[in-house]
Point group: C2
Chain length 431, copies 2
């Protein structure tokens, strides 16, 4: 049985004005994916009755399932019940089930039922209620143009609490629909276009049954392999193997894996530790590491040495070196890494010093220039890169590169990462 | 002249699948509000050519302005140019302007132009390009059904960089539309419902001409005062003064002001400096400070002392104190702050030590417990708070509270912040 056509109708002025970023669609999409349903089309409009009625008519004709989100609250701009009744050419009636829910809900909070609440019990004639375990507004569903219209609240926690019930309803109505299966790969070190190009160059027989999708994020790129039928799992696994062959160590893991998690996982396996010596990233690398639960096993100390004086004082960077080469230089990051290893007793260090901008650039070292050092005592490598972008993105990319270089070292990867090949710097060696 | 009817068309499988939460609509809505334009209706569909062509036809007939977002990238699922050409019944041609942009963009990155990139230069015949200062894909616009169709990239930073150009185009095409004027206040230390309640309790005569809006974010709350006509500026200013009276020092600034910016601004005025001693926030406070351009004037050193050993070694926290009271305790954060002031020579310090979770909680100090110390040498205050939430939000809130406490001290505010009153902790004093 083919999956039904699902559409979404989002209502609310605050959504249209951009004051609320819609995360509900994402939640609905993820839950529907469990049934193998995808959302074909989504329409968002403000609290305008005429527009809402028009959309309800149009979308219920196009779809087998229409999920309406928002407009169930107690205020005058909550219109869903009223416009759905109008679209269906029926009236509103007081739902005894809804009244009972409201009474129980208010009693549990020691509050009296007020007129605004009671409005929430006026539902289209014949509507079936959807229980709301966490809020005052019940959801409801109604047939319209041979489509099941499911009305849900805009408050994310209330919507979330109704989704199990909704999924059960849909499972019964559309038995046998096939679930989709999504495999996600997290990649670092190349853009979407480079990725796509490499696939075009190296694969000639990509199967139609395996959909390829991308989500470009800073700093990671997520690659998705989707199959609509588990019978295609073998083809999907072959595609995954092909991607691993093509991209090798630029794939950092599956699922949601972040760079810092991959690094911490490797450190835990080896029972080793890491420290950070940060100038231009100002604590961001340490912060990414300690965002991961359990990071204390492999991370004890981080040094944010923003000024030259502190680089000398805390990490023992030579004031002569700072004077001769400047803070953004190879000998300085090497000494920062050495100093952090010495001070903390950690096994690995990442050290960065760069010009984050917008000020502070020179002709020789423009904004975006960064020296990175990484490794173990006695075996520290270094490299200069340039990211000509805004301050925040520069800091994000530099932190990610630092973590990735340690990941590569922990994995014993000899291959040069693409960002070293593609990002040529024109800097003269600074020592 | 009435404002034009504006619709939005969002494309992309990743948006439909819920893998990307759409923040672009919100950005577009906010920028259009500067012209007094609001978005009437928004449609979101996946990368399906037939659906996209149908929507382009339908929406261009309904609207005066149609902004299309997404689908400009270099991959096979980037379809916007192609479907717009089909909807308009015209062909694609290589845009020399787009080629030139791509060549400059690649050259600046030392990268070669590849075939995937070149695909981005194939635009509908007659399309006018919209420059992209920060990415490879140019935007473009075309007339269709007496509607101006404006195609923009899905990457938020690229979209943001194009909005000025787009606003100029629209301003010229629809002269005389009445701009709305939005005043934004950044607040910290209370939620949306508490804010709303305080306004209801303390104002009886809020004018209809001044719209009140909220954008609840972690950790700041943005309050918006919108007027549709500059003739109401005086009423708006009165409302602002009322809000300042009610909320006092919980308003940290206007516009986009972040807590770290407010702190740095105050430090610069006083020519003073700050340092950080972080355990549970792991570098986040230092990172928020150094995200602000020019932070080096007031920030030299940050200490991420994640383990007890490093707290003793780097900040001179007594090992006896650590043993007797534990790392999450008042005497330890006090010693951390003192140690950081001593080591760095800074004027002010923030020190935090807490249980970020998900593990590590005890009955006495459950997950979410944090001790914060702040102040100057010889005048350090401390406080225990509890945030029973997930690890990341806990770190975000603790970092924000630390910055806010320094802001209050720098401003000489004697009043107790609301989060001290509302967040009672049941901890026994630990010393």
């Amino acid at each position: 049985m083919a999956a039904p056509i699902v559409e979404l109708l989002l209502t609310g002025n605050e959504v249209m004005a951009g004051d609320t970023v819609d995360s509900n669609s994402s939640m609905i999409a993820h839950r529907l994916a469990e049934l193998g349903f995808s959302i074909r089309r989504k329409v968002t409009v403000g609290d305008e009755p005429a527009l809402l009625i028009e959309e309800l008519q149009d979308q219920s004709r196009r779809a087998d399932v229409l999920i309406v989100n928002g407009g169930l609250g107690p205020t005058v701009d909550d219109l869903t019940a009223q416009v759905l009744a109008q679209a269906a050419g029926i009236g509103l009636e007081v739902s005894q089930n809804a009244i009972q829910h409201l009474e129980t809900w208010c009693a549990a909070r020691g509050a009296a039922l007020n007129a605004a609440n009671l409005k929430q019990a006026d539902l289209p004639v014949g509507a079936e209620i959807i229980p709301n375990p966490v809020g005052s507004a019940v959801g409801f569903q109604l047939e319209l143009n041979e489509c099941i219209v499911i009305c849900t609240p805009g408050v994310p926690s209330e919507l979330r609490a109704m989704m199990d019930h909704i999924l059960n309803t849909l499972r019964q109505r559309f038995p046998g629909a096939q679930a989709t299966d999504v495999l996600r790969l997290q990649c670092f070190g190349m853009g979407e276009s480079a990725f796509q190009q490499l696939i075009s160059d190296h694969t000639s027989n990509w199967p139609d049954t395996v959909e390829l999708g991308f989500r470009a994020g800073a700093p990671q790129l997520e690659v998705k392999l989707t199959i609509r039928d588990l019978a295609h799992a073998a083809a999907r696994d072959q595609c995954r193997d092909q991607l691993h062959e093509i991209f090798g160590d630029h794939i950092i893991g599956e699922g949601d894996t972040r760079l810092a998690e991959a690094v911490l996982q490797l450190l835990r396996e080896k029972k080793q530790t890491i420290t950070t010596a940060e100038s231009c990233t100002g604590g961001l690398i340490a912060s990414l590491i300690t965002e991961v639960p359990g990071s204390s096993e492999a991370f004890e100390a981080g040094y944010v040495t923003y000024s030259n004086r502190i680089k000398a004082l805390e990490l023992g960077v030579s004031t002569d070196t700072l004077e001769v080469h400047g803070a953004v230089s190879e000998p300085v990051v090497l000494q920062m890494a050495e100093g952090a290893l010495r001070a903390s007793g950690a096994d690995y260090a990442i050290a960065v010093s760069g010009v984050a901008g917008p000020d502070g650039g020179t002709e020789e070292k423009p904004v975006g220039t960064v020296w990175i050092a990484w490794g173990q005592t006695g075996a520290i490598q270094s490299r200069c890169l340039r990211y000509n972008t805004n301050r925040k993105l520069f800091q994000t990319m530099v932190a990610a590169v630092g973590l990735d270089l340690i990941r590569r070292q922990l994995l014993g990867i000899a291959q040069t990462p693409r960002y070293f090949i593609e990002r040529k710097t024109n800097l003269p060696a600074s020592n």
